[in-house]
């Protein structure tokens, strides 16, 4: 496939040059000319006023023969299913209906078979369980190896996982081994009716644009999905399905990684990626001790404390709390930003939040451009007010 330019039609108006997000087309000698950065996204084709641009060549036909089914990886840690597993089942069900295919969940761990019941009631038609002491602690070698071989055996059309630390760690290994495409951190998934192709939408360029990705020729189509964006499906009590027990004895396993132990972060009752409410502090806090104020507010709201890079770099709170491009990506129901200016790199990490409240004494702070509710004022007056009013309401 290639981008074709009809030099007779081209007027060198440069509409394509402006439209291209990748700087991949320029006017050379009076004709629009693509360079090696072109990835055939077609943004230029859409804007050309004289239709001088077209994408030619046949898309390699999907190798869909024999691939069927939507799989989701049901992550569990410490015997507890991650909330994202249910979001995946919700979205997975929508995709499975469109494709008229079964929805299966894949569960790994030790002594975790009982968790399958929750997966069935949440919509899984099948649950593949690999229950083995060797899978008690997460290692990329084993989880990746087992999933790869399961996929080779059963050939699902689509495989989804949460874009959690675990998912982002081992799913790429699986995609690489299967020589197939993987799209990271999707915020939107859909199936194209014409050819059953999975349309995978995700932010790019630090969140400045959205891109829709496809995997036309390779199978399965794989994606990791941003937690807290997709909707959970309905829970049908009593619903059951096919439990498929997977024994590790049939697999070739390579174990060059040893899981030693898990050290829990006890500073947060709920981890940031799963939190419903996050109270985030930025440079405007001024000192480490003021995070105590945000902690009080977060506790009253049953939430967690986040921080901007500026606050973490100032040494006021540990990196585990950092939200943003070089920290964690979160999508809580409520995000309260206190003393946060709203630099682009921070916004990238929290734009999926459902409701954003901003408190900042600078009315021109960029955070107010993305906030649903903006409170211009002194956070050292407003946050105590919030705490006071919450306490009063609860008593």
């Amino acid at each position: 496939m290639s981008l074709r330019v009809d030099s007779e039609l081209c007027t060198a108006c440069e509409a394509c040059v402006e439209a291209c997000p990748f700087g991949a087309i320029e006017v050379v000698d009076g004709v629009a000319t693509p360079n090696e950065k072109c990835n055939l996204c077609g943004a230029c084709v859409d804007v050309c006023p004289v239709e001088a641009l077209s994408i030619e060549g046949k898309e390699a036909g999907p190798v869909a023969d024999g691939y069927q089914g939507v799989w989701i990886f049901a992550e569990q840690r410490q015997g507890r299913l991650a909330p994202v597993a249910f979001e995946l089942l919700g979205q997975g069900r929508v995709l499975a209906e469109k494709l008229d295919a079964p929805l299966a969940a894949v569960l790994f761990g030790s002594d975790v078979k009982d968790l399958a019941a929750d997966l069935f009631t949440a919509g899984a038609d099948q649950v593949y369980v690999a229950d083995d002491p060797r899978l008690a602690g997460f290692t990329d070698d084993l989880y990746g190896g087992v999933l790869t071989q399961l996929i080779r055996q059963h050939r699902p059309e689509i495989v989804l996982s949460g874009a959690t630390a675990m998912g982002r760690s081992f799913i790429p290994k699986v995609a690489s081994a299967l020589h197939t495409g993987l799209t990271a951190d999707c915020t939107g998934l859909d199936v194209r009716d014409s050819d059953r192709l999975l349309l995978q939408t995700r932010p790019a360029f630090g969140g400045n644009i959205m891109a829709t990705i496809i995997c036309p020729a390779k199978r399965p189509q794989m994606a990791t999905v941003r937690p807290r964006v997709m909707r959970r499906g309905p829970v049908e009590a009593g619903r059951s399905g096919e439990l498929i027990e997977v024994s590790l004895s049939s697999f070739e396993l390579v174990g060059r990684t040893r899981f030693v132990e898990f050290v829990e972060d006890l500073s947060e009752k709920v981890n940031l990626v799963e939190a419903d409410v996050i109270v985030c502090g930025g440079r405007g806090l001024g000192e480490a001790k003021h995070f105590g104020l945000l902690r009080d507010l977060a506790d009253l709201l049953g939430g967690s404390v986040g921080a901007t890079r500026g606050a973490v770099d100032s040494g006021w709170i540990s990196y585990a709390h950092q939200v943003g491009q070089t920290g964690k990506t979160v999508g809580p129901k409520l995000y309260i930003a206190c003393g946060v200016s709203g630099a682009v790199q921070h916004l990238v990490g929290m734009q999926s939040s459902e409701v954003i409240v901003a408190v900042n004494k600078d009315p021109h702070a960029p955070i107010f451009d993305v906030a649903d509710f903006g409170l211009v004022g002194d956070l050292f007056e407003i946050v105590p007010e919030m705490i006071g009013q919450l306490k009063a309401a609860k008593s």
Binding site: R77, S176, G374, L375
Partner: protein, 270 residues
């Protein structure tokens, strides 16, 4: 310890702005920088080299100007560098990129450890590190926040891997690959002698032919995924400005929030 760091030169996405009228990215005046996470990878590699001896080599796949990023790393103390550059590599997704880097790593040869930054700030996928490990058949640990210990006798590296709810301690056998997060340690400063060395150092360019790449596996044609379309994100934010004294502001805010059932439960029914 022979260490390879795989890096990327990226546009400074902190400066990239969307033009609201044309819905395209304004790219003028945007600097090219070394991907910030890769500086942390470099520091981790240099620290290991300082402790255990050996050499650090930097490798990148990119256009000819990516050599500047490699030179910058040499000014910090990286010993050698190589550039994978060929028109055929362009347009690669993470699979094709990791395939290419793997061949480059094999060509340079003899590495005990490969260190990558967690992700590049333009692609944000965090996939190349693990995919590269798989291409090379290496064990790996992603999101490493601390190197706990290295035992030269057994060749085992013990690391702390950052998870969403804490961290895992895992032990991997070298040769291996790790991707690192910021907690691994602040990058050092470059040196004057390093800058002078960086200016003069020869950076070999490896083409597709040099690494005997299979043309079906590199660049745009070697990529299992491709971009179907790009579009501007939905502008978000109702941008309701709440004024008044702090007490009034908070009261009004809570009234708004209570319109949502879940949030109403959290702020307490009045």
């Amino acid at each position: 310890m022979e260490i390879l760091i795989c890096i990327k030169q990226v546009p400074d996405t902190r400066d990239v702005k969307l033009d609201p009228e044309t819905n395209t990215l304004k790219r003028e005046g945007v600097d090219s920088i070394v991907n910030p996470f890769d500086l942390y990878a470099m520091e981790a590699a240099l620290a290991l080299r300082d402790a255990h001896g050996g050499q650090v080599t930097a490798l990148t796949m990119g256009p000819p100007q990516a050599a500047e990023a490699l030179r910058e790393l040499v000014s910090y103390g990286v010993d050698e560098a190589a550039l994978l550059s060929d028109r055929a590599f362009a347009g690669a997704d993470t699979w094709a990129t990791s395939y290419t880097l793997a061949l480059g790593a094999k060509k340079l040869g003899g590495f005990d450890l490969i260190v990558c930054g967690k992700q590049a700030i333009d692609g944000d996928t965090a996939q190349v590190g693990p995919e590269l490990a798989e291409q090379l058949g290496l064990p790996y640990a992603a999101f490493v926040r601390r190197i706990v210990s290295f035992d030269p006798e057994s060749g085992r590296l013990t690391v702390e891997r950052l998870m969403d709810d804490g961290y895992d301690v895992v032990e991997i056998e070298l040769p291996a690959l790790i991707t690192v997060v910021k907690e691994i340690g602040e990058p050092r400063v470059p040196s004057l002698k390093g800058k002078m060395r960086a200016k003069k150092i020869d950076i070999p360019v490896l083409t597709a032919a040099d690494i005997e790449a299979d043309e079906d596996k590199i660049g745009l044609s070697g990529s299992p995924t491709r971009v179907l379309e790009v579009f501007a994100p939905q502008p978000r934010g109702q941008r309701v400005s709440i004024e008044g004294e702090p007490g009034e502001q908070v009261r009004e805010l809570f009234e708004h929030l209570k319109k949502d059932k879940t949030l109403a439960a959290k702020v307490g029914a009045s």
